[in-house]
Structure formats: structure tokens, C-alpha cells
């Protein structure tokens, strides 16, 4: 339960950063916060109380003792996609900085919405 609250707070804080902040690096940081929030939410949806990780590390474990592995597999994908987007976003930020010598979106006309 507390995981839901934590994850949704992270998502909201991230969206806040994207909507309100003026600094482009801050905005990208907001995106990574959103990503972490979504990932926590997904993994916590697969969790089952008192069960172990889905790895048959010793022979006594049976299928009934394990948490749902699917959300974990999805999150693995989501994390990698997240870092790819972050890296691309930052290189675009570097490009914009080269042209304008500022990271403040208020000083960059086209970016206002």
C-alpha cells in the first residue's frame, strides 16, 4: 500500500517538474522521477505477500512460493527505455545550449507552450 503512495507521489512530483520548471535539465530530471514512479508501481502490482523472488535457486521451492515475474520483466524493459530517452533528451539539451547559451526555456522563444 505504501508503495502505491510513494510511486504516485513520485509521478506527481515529476509531472510538476515538467510543467513548472524552467530549466531543461530539471525537466529531464522530472522525466526520470516519473519513470521511477511508474516502475515502482508496476513491480508492486506483481508482489505477493510472503513469497520469494521468481528464481528456482533451490529445489524445495515450488511455483506457489513465488511472486509474479511478468511485471518484473516489463519493468526491466521500461528501465532500459527510460535511460535511452534520458540520454537522447540530454543530448538535445546540449544542442539547444550550444545555440542559445542558456538552459532556461523562458529565454528560448519556440519552447513556450
Amino acid at each position: 500500500m505504501i508503495y502505491y503512495v510513494a510511486a504516485i507521489s513520485l509521478i506527481l512530483i515529476g509531472i510538476y517538474a515538467v510543467l513548472v520548471k524552467k530549466n531543461m535539465i530539471k525537466i529531464v530530471l522530472g522525466l526520470t522521477l516519473i519513470d521511477s514512479g511508474v516502475n515502482i508501481l508496476l513491480v508492486s502490482l506483481g508482489y505477493v505477500k510472503d513469497k520469494t523472488a521468481p528464481i528456482f535457486s533451490n529445489p524445495t521451492l515450488t511455483a506457489g512460493d513465488m511472486v509474479d515475474p511478468v511485471p518484473q520483466a516489463l519493468v526491466l524493459t521500461a528501465i532500459v527505455i527510460g535511460v535511452a530517452v534520458t540520454a537522447l533528451a540530454l543530448s538535445i539539451v546540449i544542442r539547444i545550449y550550444d545555440h542559445h547559451k542558456t538552459l532556461n526555456i523562458n529565454k528560448i522563444r519556440e519552447l513556450k507552450w
Binding site: 509521478i11 509531472i15 515538467v18 533528451a89 538535445i92 507552450w113
Partner: protein, 490 residues
């Protein structure tokens, strides 16, 4: 005879991985790779058509039957859209041969190939998370391509697009999380079956999240803030690819969502209203634009509004009209973009005012532009007429007179601004500075293919309609799709 359809995705990825070593051997060869690979995809989609029209072709991947593994589900709808995407991709790839001189151009071709592969994957896959992964491939390559020229405006447009796109993927992922948590599956057919037993509050929330996410790619109001900038600042062929490829994949996802997976009654009215608002706002903005490519971008959003109206009607004939409109738009908008690209290049300015008299300086280019403009306006013998006619008559016959009137009003605005440009091209004296250079043959070939298809579909609309009918039927009657997927598991 067709090969395994999974090759339509595996081969582009394989080719993209091999482009860097190929570029070291010979830089000149790289630009032919997308033509070859997307040409193969085109061949595959054409060869698949007769099979998928009868019964959806299910392709199992990794030897696990549908609910367990990922599968490709190639029904009439997916096949027609994959055909559209490959066709536009092929034409743009031909156009690219002589267009891109910017370094590092092998990366450009690689990104373009992956953009097409991603969009193809989106329309073919039968698994919702896989759809998300392909959406990311499509959109990440779009971000990079938007900024490819490394100029100021391109980078800014790309940043804006990336922000909106990342929000979209967040919403989609949250929606998928809710769906998986309540149905325990990611296969779209199985989700459609199981959603009936899910708490409606959760299902509606998941629907809202997913529509928001995919609506961004489909340029639905008010989520289309990225489009005008991205279209106009990206290299010309990429603007064409956005209109012909990326948006089509987004609309497909939206249609699959509202028809096959959720199919709540209330949602269709919502889509109808969103469509009409999108149409009106886009057309009103388009008429105010000073730059040619920005105008085309807003016009593209307006056309998507029309498609959304058609999808919101939720009748067989309406959906057929909407799909036909998508087909026409996918052929005509790239034609307009590609010719506008060279018009902008030769007049040396992005502004409409500077296009004066290009009809005399570059008659062939201007002809292509004017032809595209007339076709998209829906002048009777050309293809745009039929799709608009079907959508509007269907809207009226279902009692949405107000919607039809507003859509007609939008079309009139559209006519005004297109004819304004065409008028300038032909009836004004050319400026002095216009450079007279020759247009590369590859670009002319690309534009002629599109113009020819537009002409032929205008004269014989039934050629396309025979394939669109089963596609519309697949959307209206979702049991066809579901049965085909789930019986593959037995």
C-alpha cells in the same frame, strides 16, 4: 507466395544493426538499404493481402502460443495499414536517396529504417506491451530525426516532442499496469475477453490513460502541441513520414483500443467530439500560418480530426470512410510535403509569400503540389472526394447534422488556404532570387508514384475499398479478431 511475416520486423532491425559496418566499406551503398528492405516489406504486405482478407494470419513468435508468448496478428486492418506504412516508407526512402547530404548520413538512413520498422511493428503486433515497445522505437527515432539537422529550431521542436512523447509513454505504461493487474494478461484479444469482468472504474481509468497516451501520437486535440513544430522543423522527408507513417500507427492503436479492447458505448461520442474540435481548431490555425510547412502540419492535424469523426461514428460505412481518408491522407500529405520541401529549397524561404510564381520557375514541382492540394480538398474526380463524401453523408444520415456542418465549414477553410498557396504559385510574378536547379530524378520518381496512386484511387475508388471493407468489418465486429487469436493457442 509470402515469407514468414515476422521478417517484416526482423529484417529491418538486422539491416539497421549491419549499417555501421557497411558504411565503413562504402558510404554510397547505405542509402539503398532502406529502399531494399522497405521494398521487401511492401512485397510482403501485398502478398499477404489475399490471405489476411479471408482470415487473420497469426504468427507465433518464440514457439509459444498467444497468451503465453507474443504474436503478430495480421488481420485486414493491420495488413492494410502495414501496406500504407511500407508504401509511404518506400517512397520516402527513394526520395531520401538524393536528399540527405548532412553528415552523418548513414545514421539518418538507419534511423529512418527503424522508424518504419517500429510503425510496422505497432500495426502488426497482437500484444499490448509489445505495442508499447514498438511505439517507443517509432517515437525515439522520430525525436532524433526531428533534431537531425542540428539547427536551432529542430532541436527545440525535438525537445518539445520528446517531453510530450515521454508523458504519453508514462500514461500508456500506467494503463498497461492497470490492465495487467486486473486481467493477468497482455494479449490484446484475451484482454478484450476478460475486461468484461473487471471493475468498471478500473477499466475506465485504464481507458482514459491509454487514450491520452495514444491520442498524443494520433494528434488528437488537445494533445497535438508537438505536431506543428516537429513537422515543420524536421527534414522534409521526415515531415512526410510523420504524416504518412507515425500518425497512422497512432490512429491504428487508438482504433484497436476503442473498438477491439474496450468497446464502451460512451467512448465513441467522446472521440466524435474530440474529432470535430481537432478539425476546427487545426483548420483555423492553418489559415493563419505564414510558413508553408507549418500550414501543412496543421492541415494534417485537421485531416486526422476527420478520421476521428469517422471512427467516432462507429458504423461500418463510417469506419470505411475513415480508413479511406487515412489511406488518401497517407498518399497525399507526403506528396505535398515532398514537393513543398523542394519549393522551400528553391525559393530559399519557408514563407508562403515567397512562393510567388514558382509555377513558372518549377512547373513540375508546382504541378505536384497543386495536384496534391486539389486531391486533399476533395475535388470530385480525385481520391479525397470519395472519403470526405462517405464520412459526411454517413454523419448526416446518423443525425449529427451539426457535426457535418462544422466539418464542411472546416473543409471550406481548408480550401481557402490551399487555393491561396496554389494561386500564388501560378498567378504571381516570380521573385528575382529564385534559383533554377534541377530536381533529382529520385525525388521526381517518388512524387510521381504518390501522384499516380492518388489519381488511380480517385478514378477507381473500389480498388481500395474492396480491401478497406474487411478492415472496417474487423473493427466493428471484434469477435473476428478475438476468435482468430485465441484459437491459435489451441
Amino acid at each position: 507466395m509470402y515469407l514468414d511475416p515476422v521478417l517484416m520486423i526482423a529484417l529491418p532491425l538486422f539491416a539497421a544493426f549491419l549499417i555501421p559496418p557497411l558504411a565503413r566499406i562504402s558510404k554510397g551503398l547505405v542509402k539503398y538499404v532502406p529502399v531494399l528492405i522497405i521494398g521487401f516489406n511492401l512485397y510482403e504486405t501485398v502478398m499477404l493481402l489475399p490471405h489476411s482478407m479471408v482470415k487473420p494470419v497469426i504468427v507465433i513468435i518464440a514457439a509459444w502460443a498467444p497468451p503465453l508468448g507474443i504474436n503478430l496478428t495480421i488481420g485486414p486492418l493491420g495488413n492494410v495499414l502495414a501496406l500504407i506504412i511500407s508504401l509511404v516508407g518506400f517512397v520516402v526512402a527513394v526520395y531520401n536517396i538524393r536528399f540527405v547530404e548532412e553528415e552523418p548520413n548513414e545514421k539518418y538512413h538507419m534511423l529512418f529504417l527503424l522508424l518504419t520498422a517500429g510503425a510496422t511493428g505497432m500495426v502488426l503486433t497482437g500484444d499490448i506491451f509489445n505495442l508499447f515497445v514498438f511505439l517507443e522505437i517509432t517515437s525515439i527515432s522520430s525525436y532524433a530525426l526531428t533534431a537531425f539537422l542540428r539547427d536551432r529550431d529542430g532541436a527545440e521542436a525535438a525537445f518539445k516532442y520528446l517531453l510530450i512523447g515521454s508523458m504519453a509513454s508514462t500514461f500508456i505504461l500506467l494503463g498497461i499496469a492497470l490492465i495487467y493487474a486486473t486481467t493477468g494478461t497482455l494479449n490484446m484479444a484475451q484482454i478484450a475477453v476478460r475486461l468484461k469482468d473487471v471493475d468498471p472504474r478500473i477499466a475506465i481509468m485504464a481507458l482514459i490513460l491509454l487514450i491520452t497516451g495514444f491520442g498524443i501520437e494520433a494528434e488528437m486535440f488537445p494533445l497535438n502541441g508537438w505536431a506543428p513544430d516537429a513537422y515543420s522543423q524536421a527534414p522534409t522527408p521526415i515531415g512526410a513520414a510523420f504524416g504518412g507513417i507515425v500518425v497512422k500507427a497512432g490512429v491504428y492503436a487508438l482504433a484497436r483500443l476503442i473498438y477491439t479492447i474496450f468497446s464502451f458505448q460512451g467512448i465513441f461520442h467522446f472521440i466524435l467530439i474530440a474529432g470535430i474540435i481537432t478539425l476546427l481548431i487545426a483548420e483555423m490555425s492553418a489559415i493563419r500560418q505564414k510558413q508553408l510547412k507549418r500550414m501543412l502540419a496543421f492541415s494534417s492535424i485537421g485531416q486526422m480530426g476527420l478520421v476521428l469523426i469517422a471512427l467516432g461514428l462507429a458504423t461500418t460505412r463510417g469506419v470505411e470512410g475513415g480508413l479511406f481518408q487515412m489511406f488518401n491522407h497517407a498518399m497525399i500529405k507526403p506528396l505535398l510535403f515532398l514537393s513543398a520541401g523542394y519549393l522551400v529549397f528553391y525559393s530559399g524561404s519557408k514563407n508562403i509569400e515567397d512562393m510567388d510564381g514558382m509555377g513558372r520557375v518549377k512547373p513540375l514541382l508546382s504541378f505536384f503540389f497543386a495536384f496534391g492540394a486539389f486531391a486533399i480538398l476533395g475535388l470530385p474526380p480525385l481520391s479525397g472526394f470519395w472519403s470526405k463524401f462517405i464520412i459526411l453523408s454517413e454523419t448526416i444520415s446518423h443525425g449529427f447534422i451539426a457535426v457535418a456542418t462544422l466539418a464542411l465549414f472546416g473543409s471550406i477553410i481548408e480550401a481557402v488556404y490551399y487555393l491561396r498557396v496554389v494561386g500564388r504559385l501560378y498567378f504571381k510574378a516570380p521573385h528575382d532570387g529564385a534559383k533554377v536547379q534541377y530536381v533529382p530524378k529520385s525525388a521526381l520518381v517518388a512524387m510521381s508514384i504518390l501522384a499516380l496512386i492518388t489519381l488511380v484511387t480517385g478514378l477507381y475508388p473500389d480498388l481500395v475499398m474492396t480491401y478497406l471493407k474487411p478492415a472496417a468489418a474487423e473493427l466493428i465486429d471484434k469477435s473476428i479478431y478475438i476468435k482468430a487469436v485465441l484459437s491459435a493457442g489451441l
